[in-house]
């Protein structure tokens, strides 16, 4: 257990510092939901910035936003989760290799290395402490949170900067569309749940969190626990895992006020999300949010930002589709996500 004392987030919605909580809602009608990027010179020296690719800039900036939000200079550990790292740089090298193995540019190779984000953050914050990067699909951010909680609970860190980050590119979207699961044409994001076109909408984003041992005046919420579940045998087993997870942290099923659902618009995926929560937590309110940020490996970062902010503000923006609106005080939110019903994750956040 630890506290979320700062957040920095770049997403397809209005989430940059100074914006109202998800207001106004941003509509997306293009191929994928692209992040609204900050003015990078506020966070990165323009000379250094010129050589950095988009993902790395998003990572450094959101990490710095998070530290500023928490009012801290240097964390005791930096941990990043990313499903694919810098896709743009990887594609550049693969493209160059297709032509000729000569005169390649070293910069994309360096930046395609998955740990570049965490290490660039370390360089920018002058942080010599623990530094790691998790790269396991939709366990990437979650593994980082588990590591952060371990370090805080074991006493090796007081405050950990940890986050998740992924980017989408048109080439990558073309490939994953061929693999199935995704909408083959652009659909307005706000029409995700009513669209007749099957599949998920692709998104991207970067979200960093200051996870601290102590509660303070900056605290958003309590990060109670994070758990991953690999390859459950059935929906029933997944539902059992939810109940066990909740009860291990001293809660009854009815204590969970709200579940942030993993639904993304792909029917088979959504059916699993619905069945699991129907069985495990039938009385909790449910929230759909992926029409705001799209689907990507580290999408739980957007969800955790939403959950923590709701718990602090005790307010749910109408763009977050919530049924029913919880009547009383919001105390406990569960975030569920999964990747092809193989990798399930649960994040428990409390006031």
């Amino acid at each position: 257990m630890a506290y979320i004392n700062g957040i920095g987030i770049i997403s397809p919605q209005n989430t940059l510092p100074g914006s109202d909580f998800l207001e106004p809602v941003v509509e997306h009608t293009s191929e994928f939901m692209k992040s609204l990027e900050p003015v990078y010179k506020l966070y990165i020296d323009p000379m250094a910035s010129r050589r950095l690719s988009r993902l790395i800039k998003m990572g450094i900036s959101s990490a710095k936003m998070c530290m500023q939000d928490a009012g801290l200079e240097v964390p005791d550990a930096i941990i990043t989760g990313t499903g694919l790292g810098s896709v743009e740089d990887t594609e550049k090298i693969l493209g160059e290799l297709t032509i000729e193995e000569k005169f390649l540019n070293p910069t994309p190779f360096i930046q395609s290395t998955y740990n570049t984000i965490s290490s660039q953050i370390a360089i920018n914050l002058k942080c010599h402490e623990y530094n790691s990067t998790y790269v396991h699909r939709c366990f990437s951010l979650e593994s980082g949170l588990i590591d952060a909680l371990l370090q805080i609970e074991e006493g090796s860190a007081l405050n950990v900067l940890t986050g998740g980050i992924d980017e989408m590119t048109l080439n990558h979207l073309t490939i994953i569309r061929r693999l199935g699961l995704w909408k083959l044409e652009p659909v307005r994001n706000l029409d995700l749940w009513s669209s007749a076109l099957p599949g998920a909408l692709a998104g991207e984003g970067a979200a960093y969190f200051n996870i601290s041992k102590e509660r303070n005046e900056k605290t958003y919420a309590r990060l109670e626990a994070v758990e991953t579940l690999y390859k459950p045998a059935s929906t029933g087993q997944t539902a059992e895992a939810v109940l066990r997870f909740v009860s291990e942290h001293g809660l009854r099923p009815e204590d969970v006020d709200l579940v942030m659902m993993g639904n993304n618009g792909y029917d088979e995926h959504d059916r699993i999300c619905n069945e699991v929560m129907m069985q495990a937590l039938p009385s909790a309110s449910r929230m759909l949010y992926k029409h705001l940020c799209g689907e990507y490996h580290t999408v739980s970062g957007f969800a955790l930002f939403v959950a923590a902010t709701i718990l602090r503000k005790q307010f749910i923006p109408s763009s977050l589709l919530t049924i029913p609106i919880p009547p009383g005080k919001l105390e406990t939110i569960l975030i569920h996500n999964h990747f092809r019903n193989t990798d399930h994750s649960f994040i428990l956040v409390r006031r």
Partner: protein, 404 residues
């Protein structure tokens, strides 16, 4: 004292052997795995050496009794081979009541197959075999290994460049100490790819003569491939289950150089911090380290920075040290685990393996590596360094087991 994490199994696949016995044989006979490129077509063939695993993908499939070649990247095949050896040694079987996890590490996932996919795809976006790109991400090979061994209780993947699998071992140990899991298979796997070879070549840090760590004339590293895994569990569990204990993990440290994306700091600040943290956790004074398996890539930058950090930490009493990358090449995401297994072999067989290819001392350093095999030497604690791009530095201390 807290929970002691012991090692009850290990497995290794590298250019110098397909299992621990073969690797030990090569280390003792001073046979390096560095040689000509044979695995793929490249303009660097005959010009740059590699340390390839001497088995084709078809042979690796057969070795593990696998059929469907479209499902497996070379990284997965190497990983499955090494992880099965480790699981076999520790007696891990499916459906035991113990909670078993798999923490793997790599740097390029199934890039070997993405490289096959991409040219066709770039020509025409509806072309290229999808099975070749479905293995692209780093987590994919971890899931293949987990499926092969039927591991379900926890899985994740780490990528911190050349220190990746050292960090996998660290996380495994932390989770056992915290009681989150009973046993962990932790390590890493990486296959050589054109992507990696060309990437490192753009940085002009590949030695065309093969790496010569800590030599004055060193001209870079040699990329290798391989996989290695350790089985970690608490000492109490290992004793209760009557397992043979190969050694224990007495300390580890992770620190960041925070200096430059690809270069190590001239004073080796991150390297020094990682080593010091590892010794501190183990409660081991520097004088008690019997052997340092250094990171020693053979680049100008690493060996100088690491050497300075070692001199600073150990002062006038630097223990015998060597870089076994002169045998295995630099196996990147697998290096931390491969060198952890080599460190265990050093402890178990009471010897220190020489640093091959060394001729001339570095003029900036007063230390020099072990260049002849040391036999019948008591190896109590080994410090194993894994330092990566991005300043990701990790050190492990592996120790001889004796019940307390």
């Amino acid at each position: 004292m807290g929970i002691r994490v012991v090692i009850t199994g290990y497995g290794i696949v590298s250019s110098i052997g397909m299992n621990a016995d073969e690797v030990l044989g090569s280390l003792l006979e001073e046979v390096s795995g560095i040689g000509e490129i044979t695995r793929f077509d490249t303009i660097h063939k005959g010009k740059l050496p590699l340390a390839e695993v001497k088995r084709s993908n078809a042979e690796l499939l057969e070795l593990s009794g696998l059929k469907d070649k479209r499902k497996y990247s070379r990284t997965s095949l190497l990983g499955i081979a090494a992880a099965s050896q480790a699981a076999g040694m520790a007696g891990i079987k499916p459906n035991q009541s113990l909670r078993t996890g798999l923490i793997s590490a790599n740097t390029v996932g199934g890039m070997d197959r993405t490289e096959d996919f991409y040219p066709l795809f770039l020509e025409n976006q509806s072309r290229g075999r999808l099975s070749e790109v479905a293995t692209h991400d780093c987590g994919e090979s971890t899931e293949r290994i987990a499926q092969f061994l039927d591991i379900r209780d926890f899985i994740t993947t780490i990528s911190t460049a050349c220190s990746s699998s050292a960090n996998a071992i660290m996380l495994g140990s932390e989770m056992i100490k915290a009681g989150l899991i009973d046993r962990v298979i932790a390590g890493g796997a990486d296959a050589v790819t054109r992507f990696t070879l060309n990437g490192f070549n753009t940085l002009m840090i590949l030695d065309k003569n093969g790496c010569r760590p800590f030599d004055e004339e060193r001209a870079g590293l040699t990329i290798g491939e391989g996989a290695a895994f350790l089985v970690l569990e608490s000492e109490e569990l290992a004793i209760r289950e009557g397992r043979k204990i190969a050694g224990f993990l007495s300390g580890y440290g992770n620190a960041n150089d925070a200096y430059h994306q690809t270069a190590s700091s001239p004073d080796g600040i991150g390297a020094g911090l990682a080593m010091a943290k590892a010794l501190e956790m183990g409660g081991i004074v520097p004088a008690r380290i019997s052997y340092i398996n250094v990171h020693g890539t053979g680049t100008q930058n690493n060996d100088l920075s690491e050497g300075i950090a070692v001199q600073r930490l150990f002062g006038g009493e630097v223990p015998p040290f060597s870089s076994t990358k002169s045998y295995t090449g630099h196996t990147l995401g697998a290096a931390g685990a491969i060198e952890a297994v080599i460190s265990l072999l050093s402890i178990q067989h009471s010897c220190v393996f020489p640093n091959l290819g060394w001729a001339t001392p570095m003029k900036e350093l007063y230390i020099r590596p072990v260049t002849t095999l040391l036999r019948n030497t008591d190896v109590e604690h080994v410090l194993s360094n894994s330092f990566g791009f991005g300043g990701n530095n990790s050190s492990l201390v592996l120790s001889k087991y004796n019940s307390r």
